[in-house]
Amino acid sequence: MTAILAVDALSVRYETPDGVVNAVNDVSLEIAAGECIGVVGESGAGKSQAFLAVMGLLAPNAKVSGGAKLRGRELLGTDPRALRELRGAELAMIFQDPMTSLAPHIKVGDQIAETLVVHKRTSWRDARAQALKLLEQVQVTDAARRLTQYPHELSGGMRQRVMIAIALACDPVMLIADEPTTALDVSVQAQILSLLKRLMRERGMALALITHDLGVVAGLADHVTVLYAGRVVEAGTVRRLLKQPAHPYTAALLRSMPRIDASVSEPLVAIRGQPPSPRELVGGCPFHPRCDLAQPRCAEERPTLRSTAGAMVACHFPIAASHGDLS
């Protein structure tokens, strides 16, 4: 399989007056053409940071190392001008908060058209005509009227659709969606997700879906990468990972999710403790202070990501497939 996006040993760190913050540590992942990868983790696990680094959108004080190749072209550390030509054209991103992610003073149609004008040198007139088609594709009702409206005249779901239309304008090969539904109502969430699914299929576009919601991942993703404390702890196909999680963290995450088919009396199991702050360095496995299966070795030696029985997992004592059944 040829990877559309290959992230290799990516690390992001900040040197602050209060010490070094390690936001992302040695993250590698690959996304194939037309594939959807779910990137899962708690708040502060480094999901957004990793992909903002790929986009070159981190704050100037971020120190990024490692590599990220889009169709074989290195993105990190390249000439900003060359990166800008890819950004918004071949590689697009949508964000968590549609309420504040659109420029308040520019008409919706022009915000979509601008991408085309800048990247494809389309005339404004043609770009606006295309913007109308894009709005229709992302199922915005009354699209012609929306073109001349300002973002504050649109609902949150509509605005996220506009964000998607902006991202899709230049037909990207890779779309990064950073918690695209977190700020939306549940019913709107489902609409946006099925829209993303359809657009992916129609366009053969790869999708990186950053989320803390395993339910979202289950519905959309082919592969999943689980991040904990800025590191990949487990990766694999969505089927295997949801059925037979190999890392105790993944298993705990699944147990902590409400299930529609569980009996009402069954309590939800929370993961004890707090995820480590990226400022502190936990020795050994970063998850060991919260892990029910931890052994002395877990506190001393950091497990590396390795392949065991069809799963990529960073754990000294992965849950074996035989008793990986969630009971």
Binding site: L57, G88, F95, S101, P104, H105, T115, V118, Y150, H152
Partner: protein
């Protein structure tokens, strides 16, 4: 936008009416009158004078008479500058005050906004510290210090500009007053622009603009600058009014025959009509500059127009 504009404009006339009415009665509350001087006039002469100016009438009658005159564009006679009507006095001085005031605001925006933007873009660099240091000085130093200092340097030592005075059609007399007047406004605008641009540059929609692959210049000018100018515009309304009407110090330092002195002299002399005339004019200027700021605000931020 049209409805928003009409709404704003329709608010101006009633406000001006309230200002005029309130001022008319408040001035009369101050003890003394225009004809009370160190050497007391014989009561008959004083009574005659008051009758001649209508001051013997009940206050409400005087008010009605004044308002009628105002509607016809007549500010009445000055009590102290005996050969002049208030209209004539204002017509002489106002062009000068307006010119230096508006020029100062214009210069201040033209210099202050780019300086502030530069400081924001080069945050924590030498140029940022330099600009902000200058801004603190500009705000802290009063114009009666800077004015004479400029007159000393450019007028006496360098001899390139006149120290003071005014001759019609000679703009070189206005340069120092305009610069002195503009300096604190430049400083304030630079600080406002810097702060608000820094905030906007961190906002989500600027991140979206960058994610679209736009060039830094396009991100700055098309996406960030307009929202960042909102605080500057809301400051500009009162600031313009203040600079145009509050140039009294500058006018005395540089010996300019503007209107600033009339307000002070008029108030001390109880020159009711002159003070009222100045209040009407300054009130109108204040309302007008705030109106323009409001309209600009609506243009900058579409969300404002619909409230």
């Amino acid at each position: 936008m049209l409805r928003y504009a009409l709404q704003r404009i329709s608010g101006v006339i009633p406000t001006l009416f309230v200002i005029i009415t309130a001022s008319f009665f408040v001035i009369r509350l101050a003890p003394g009158g225009p004809f009370d001087e160190e050497q007391t006039l014989p009561p008959e002469i004083k009574a005659n004078l008051e009758a001649a100016y209508g001051l013997d009438q009940p206050l409400l009658v005087q008010y009605g008479r004044y308002m009628r005159g105002l509607l016809a564009g007549d500010f009445g006679p000055s009590f102290k500058f005996k050969d002049f009507s208030v209209t004539e006095l204002i017509a002489q001085g106002l062009p000068i005050s307006l010119t230096i005031g508006l020029a100062a605001v214009f210069v201040a925006v033209l210099i202050g906004v780019p300086l502030g933007a530069l400081a924001a873009l080069r945050r924590n660099s030498a140029s940022d510290y330099g600009i902000m240091g200058f801004a603190v000085l500009g705000i802290a130093l009063p114009s009666f210090v800077i004015g004479p200092l400029f007159a000393l340097i450019f007028g006496l030592y360098l001899g390139v500009l006149p120290v003071a005075g005014y001759e019609t059609g000679q703009p070189k007399y206005l340069i120092l007053p305009v610069v002195t007047l503009a300096l604190p406004v430049i400083a304030y605008i630079a600080r406002l622009t810097r702060g608000s641009l820094l905030e906007v540059l961190r906002s989500n929609f600027v991140r979206t603009a960058r994610a679209k692959g736009l060039s830094p210049l396009r991100v700055l000018f098309r996406h960030a600058l307009r929202p960042a100018l909102l605080p500057v515009v809301s400051y500009l309304g009162p600031a313009t009014a203040f600079v145009v009407t509050g140039s009294l110090v500058i006018e005395s330092v540089f010996g300019l025959p503007g209107t600033g002195r009339y307000l002070v002299q008029g108030a001390i002399n109880r020159d009711y009509t002159l003070v009222m005339g100045m209040i009407v004019v300054y009130g109108a200027i204040t309302l007008l500059s705030n109106l323009i700021a409001d309209l600009l605000y609506g243009w900058l931020d579409p969300r404002v127009r619909y409230d």
